[in-house]
């Protein structure tokens, strides 16, 4: 006999914290960088707004079926204030950032920075850095760098909404030097390179 328990939430009796809320059992998403982002210039940072939801299929069947549950809202536009990710629902989130760094530049210090806003995108503060570098202007190389981050998201709307964004920064080189966030034009037919995973792993903490 199959036993079925019907319940809205499962809570820990000691802490009162919610372990499972059946309305938000899985909130998982994957965005990829949809273009090669090159050459912001020496000592220049540029917010990455070229993101699309991963939609890769094999034999016409989606690999990830993203979003699972409600998805992130990806960035739009190209200005520094609108290029942010928004969360679909309050919660405690894990973000995994993967950067394929394609470079032929004597620039030992490039980075992807993840920044967080708690005022609906008005102001951002740098949270973490994924770094990479290269020391040759004649040899082309690829590096893959990754970082894991947690964010508590108590609010997703109004003036206290939590958002985040990713910035590409490099330290040396001219605009003509190859030094990029390697992207993919369309993951429906080609492989992911630089991408972002988002997973809601718990309830928001007050």
């Amino acid at each position: 006999m199959v036993s079925i328990l019907k319940v809205d939430e499962i809570q820990n009796p000691s802490t009162g914290s919610t372990a499972i809320n059946v309305k938000t059992p899985l909130v998982i998403d994957c965005f990829y960088v949809n273009a090669d982002i090159s050459n912001p210039g020496a000592s220049v940072s540029s917010v990455i707004h070229q993101w699309s939801r991963a939609n890769h299929t094999a034999n016409s069947i989606s690999i990830g079926n993203f979003p699972i549950g409600a998805g992130l809202t990806g960035p739009s536009g190209s200005g520094s204030t609108v290029n942010c990710f928004s969360f679909p629902t309050p919660g405690y989130y894990r973000l995994d950032l993967t950067w394929v760094h394609l470079t032929r530049n004597d620039n030992p210090n490039s980075s992807l920075d993840i920044s967080v806003s708690i005022d609906n995108g008005s102001n951002y503060t740098t949270y973490g850095v994924v770094s990479s570098g290269h020391t040759s202007g004649t040899h082309t190389v690829n590096h893959t760098s990754c970082g894991t981050y947690f964010i508590n998201v108590p609010s997703v709307t109004g003036s206290s909404a939590v958002k985040f964004r990713i910035t590409f920064t490099r330290t040396y080189g001219s605009a003509s030097d190859l030094d990029q966030v390697n992207g993919t034009a369309n993951t429906a037919t080609t492989a992911l390179k630089s991408y972002l995973l988002s997973q809601r792993i718990g309830e928001a903490v007050a």
Binding site: P13, G133, S145, C146, T148
Partner: protein
């Protein structure tokens, strides 16, 4: 709303398949607010400069760590707050100015309360020019923590590996920009 208050859920055979005690934690490397530099060549040295990540914006905690009881880290030795199956995400942000073909960190696990450690995994990188290279090496591992106290307690630590030059460094936090970190998430009951 119907809420079920329960510590754990077992299958009909009595095997615990889910528990409601979340554990999430994250620790960052610190050191002079810029870089953590080993003084001279280093191999097998426990990395000790960790503190719980307390990232704030205008006094508001962004991480609210720990979720649950939290890890304990004393002199670079991590111990677990409760039994379970854990995922450990290690992120080494490094800054190198040396010709060193193999360096990084060892991920070591003890199942006898720290008496001995087994080298479970390594994180490698290299630089063959004396230039100021930055790079990030990341790895994820699962640990089944079947005991948290007594002579069988499970611990882990990170040790330096093959750092032949004093200019090979792990980069810690610089202001709010975190570098090297260890993230810990409990996935379920111990198996």
């Amino acid at each position: 709303m119907n809420a079920l208050l329960v510590e754990a859920i077992q299958d009909p055979a009595g095997t615990e398949i889910f528990d409601t005690s979340l554990e999430i934690d994250r620790w960052k490397l610190i050191g002079n607010n810029v870089n953590r530099n080993f003084n001279g060549a280093s191999d097998g040295e426990t990395i000790v400069e960790w503190e719980r990540d307390d990232f704030e914006i205008n006094g508001t905690s962004i991480l609210k760590l720990p979720i649950g009881t939290g890890m304990s880290c004393i002199n670079g030795i991590w111990s677990f707050p409760r039994k379970g199956l854990y995922k450990i995400d290690i992120m080494l942000v490094m800054q190198v100015q040396a010709n060193d073909a193999e360096y990084g960190a060892k991920f070591k696990v003890s199942r006898d309360s720290g008496s001995t450690y087994d080298e479970y995994a390594r994180l490698y990188h290299a630089n063959v020019e004396v230039d100021n290279l930055h790079h990030t090496v990341s790895a994820s591992h699962f640990i089944n923590v079947s005991s948290i106290e007594g002579s069988t307690a499970v611990y882990f630590k990170l040790e330096s590996y093959g750092m032949d030059d004093s200019n090979v460094s792990f980069k810690g936090d610089s202001g709010d920009a975190r570098g090297t970190s260890v993230s810990i998430t409990k996935l379920g009951p111990a198996v």
